[in-house]
Amino acid sequence: MVRLQTEPFDPGALLSAFCEGREETGAVVSFTGLARAGLGAVTRLELEAYPGFTDAEIERIAEAARTRFSLHDVLIVHRIGEIAPGEPIVFVAAAAAHRREAFEAADHLMDYLKSRAPFWKKEHGPDGERWIEPTERDLADAKRWD
């Protein structure tokens, strides 16, 4: 399941709910990404999505990951709108029979989300605002799965 939301979320509560009622799942791996302050350079992040397009694209990748890593379930929650440093911005959980697939799926989904998911991100800080693009590292990370 893929959810884009403006409201903050509690990663612990998401993980607990995701783990409930599973008898055949041996492994759940989750990742929580937090918005960084960049040593004071960022006072808030503005994350824009294209509703109906961004969620459909992420859903498509989540479905592909389900097949590729033999997952039992996937959950992706992504904040959009205004985000303050320290707040969770993204949560990914993957459930599989065994840990290797779950680790790899979470890693893969995060690499996709960081570099290829259709979001537009702007940092606001004391020195003004700037649009963010994926770093070389982000792009190289995503290529590992091609």
Binding site: V90, L113, K114, W120, K121, W131
Partner: protein
Amino acid sequence: MIRVLLFGRLRDVAGWRERALDPAPASLFALKNLLAAEDPALGEALAGPGVQAAVDKALVRGDRALAAGAEVAFLSPMSGG
């Protein structure tokens, strides 16, 4: 009538996020030409590297006829999450 949406830095260049155009240009290229004639800075930005277009929420390469009621989105290079 068609709706035009801008994402990322394109909306800063244009100073708007969403517009309705009536009458509707017949094609995606005609729309780009119209926007560029009106606002050369936006025209230049639309032709920039990594800018993609989506018609009715599907990415389109090249030109495409625009039906009445179409939603056209111009997408700046994506930032990721």
